[in-house]
């Protein structure tokens, strides 16, 4: 039981990182689309 909990403790962080990466990439792609639609630079 302890080793399962400790394994989860080690592996939960890459899962959270994957979630953040998904949020960032999705927002970035949306901003690219909006910038192209409006004909303005992204930054």
């Amino acid at each position: 039981m302890t080793e399962i909990l400790l394994s989860a403790y080690v592996l939960v962080w890459p899962v959270i990182v994957a979630g953040v990466l998904f949020v960032l990439v999705r927002a970035f792609l949306r901003e690219i689309r909006e910038a192209r639609k409006d004909g303005r630079p992204m930054i």
Binding site: L11, V17, F28
Partner: protein
């Protein structure tokens, strides 16, 4: 461990690919005629995706990945939490102050520039000077990390590694400043976060998976096996909590992104960066915990070798390349932000607001000054890197010095009675007390120890009060001060002075806060905050 596992050709190919891609990306946004304001703030209108990625990438630097793993290796299970969580909260706790600062000065370039508008030259230069020093040390630290990594994983020398990293970063940041820094941060954060998602589980399973925790349990002390280790808290966590606000206030790279992001997206940017930073750094810190369970001894006795050792020992070549890019991405993203930050400070705080005066700043000359600053800073950081100073110790010292600035800076944005005299005296007095204690010139014994313990309790109250004040306002903040002091007083008396590093940081908060409040209380003049927006504005618009 397999030293030089990548080989010269592969290392050079990876570096050329990494810096080549970032350079091409920076070319895509380059303008023949750059704008000085955009060079520093990217037009104050950057979207959430780029801003949050940039904030995350900037805050994650090579040293934080190494230090988190070291913390895991030294303090066990709770070690990475006591490094990564507090580092993440630095971003979160500065968010409410960031919103206030942005509302007061929507077009500002640096925090020090706002202080110039609020108080005048001495306050501005105190903050600008500490910002410059901090960024130079951070840049040096990243060059050292890059040189060390390259010399460890390839036959290339440390100096060649430093030269390659410094040249690569300068190449893509020089022309477009913060715009290039922020856009390339997105690619770098994808590389870093993607690598964490892959590398941490791969090493975990390659090292034996959950069986490590059974077979290696005898390698840990009781403190290392505890999630509530007092060792980890007092040696790692507590000094970090003391530095939470100081780093965010003293670090121009964060302020620069605060001025760049669209004003309505400040909250989600800071919250996402908090989660992204925390999970990434704690995740990499777990490698240190695994090393402890496995019973790995760091090569040459240097704990900074732990992560490369694990990577070289457990990852196949393709994933070793991914790991290499993760570390290069972390140090390049912070190094480019440091260059952009230093150029903005010299452009705005030294040239724009002081040498050129109110209306004399020439935007094109500012750009030239900014680019020269980047080149000079790169040269200086390379020189310091080649001397192999213990930069991390220096950076921790600078971070603690920033502690003296936190209360006066934040109070200046909310309380109209704080003036230049109160600001300057309180900061300088706090720095003096901090130096006396931190260097050991003032031994913490007898009556001195009692006084410093009492003042440290005030320091704890100030930190708790500021954190709560930012989110919930003045009454809650004052209540937090009183509550934190009452709770900690019985434990702190006769105890805290045994931790001089922590005591010195807490004294910096306490002395600066007490003096700033007392001196401001009796000041009869009241400042009109609307003046800040008028005096901390754009350079290009006012001159063209």
């Amino acid at each position: 461990m397999q030293p030089m596992a990548l080989g010269t050709t592969l290392t050079l190919l990876l570096l050329i690919a990494f810096f080549g891609i970032t350079f091409v990306i920076s070319l895509s946004i380059g303008k023949k005629q750059e704008n000085a304001d955009s060079y520093m703030t990217a037009g104050n209108n950057v979207g959430f995706g780029i801003s949050a990625a940039s904030m995350t990438a900037t805050w994650i630097w090579a040293a934080s990945l190494y230090a988190s793993a070291t913390s895991g290796y030294t303090y066990g299970l709770s070690g990475p939490i006591h490094y990564g969580l507090w580092g993440a909260l630095m971003i979160l706790f500065i968010y409410p102050f960031g919103k206030r600062i942005r509302s007061l000065a929507p077009r500002a370039h640096t925090l020090a520039e706002i202080l110039h508008a609020r108080h005048g030259q001495s306050s501005q230069l105190l903050l600008a000077g500490s910002n410059l020093l901090g960024s130079l040390l951070s840049l040096t630290s990243n060059f050292i990390a890059g040189g060390a990594l390259i010399s460890m994983m390839s036959p290339l020398s440390f100096s060649t590694g430093v030269l390659l990293i410094a040249g690569g970063v300068l190449l893509y940041t020089l022309w477009s400043g913060i715009r290039a820094s922020m856009l390339t941060d997105f690619i770098q954060v994808c590389a870093m976060l993607g690598a964490v998602v892959i590398v941490v589980p791969m090493i975990f399973f390659a090292a034996g998976g959950s069986s490590i925790f059974v077979e290696g349990a005898q390698n840990l002390t009781a403190q290392q096996q505890s999630f509530f280790s007092s060792d980890a808290f007092f040696n790692q966590g507590a000094p970090f909590i003391a530095a939470v606000l100081a780093y965010a206030i003293g670090n121009q790279t964060i302020a620069q992104r605060l001025f760049a992001v669209r004003e309505d997206m400040i909250k989600q940017t800071f919250v996402t960066a908090t989660v992204g930073y925390g999970a990434t750094v704690i995740g990499v810190g777990m490698l240190g915990v695994l090393a402890l369970y496995i019973g790995i001894d760091p090569a040459d006795g240097d704990v900074n070798n732990l992560i490369p050792q694990l990577a070289a020992g457990y990852l196949p070549l393709a994933f070793l390349c991914v790991f290499f890019i993760m570390i290069i991405g972390s140090l390049a993203s912070t190094a480019d932000s440091d260059l952009a930050a230093m150029s903005s400070i010299v452009m705005t705080d030294i040239y724009g607001r002081n040498i050129a005066g109110k209306t004399g700043a020439k935007p094109q000359l500012m750009l030239l000054i900014g680019r020269i600053t980047m080149i000079v800073a790169t040269g200086m950081a390379m020189y310091f890197a080649s001397s192999r100073f213990d930069i991390l110790d220096l950076l921790v010292l600078v971070g603690a010095i920033w502690g003296a600035l936190v209360f006066p800076v934040i109070a200046s944005f909310y309380w109209n009675k704080v003036n230049n005299t109160g600001f300057t005296i309180s900061v300088l007095a706090a720095l003096a007390v901090f130096t006396l204690v931190r260097t050991g010139w003032l031994p913490l014994e007898g009556t001195v120890a009692i006084v410093t313990d009492l003042l440290s309790v005030v320091g704890i109250g100030v930190i708790a009060g500021l954190m709560i004040f930012g989110f919930f306002g003045l009454r809650a903040g004052v209540a937090a001060v009183v509550l934190a002091m009452l709770i900690t007083l019985p434990f702190a008396l006769g105890f805290l002075h045994q931790y001089p590093v922590l005591t010195a940081s807490l004294l910096a908060y306490a002395v600066s806060a007490i003096l700033c409040v007392v001196l401001s209380w009796f000041n009869k003049d009241e400042f009109d905050f609307d003046r800040i927006a008028r005096h901390a504005g754009q350079f290009d618009t006012q001159n063209t």
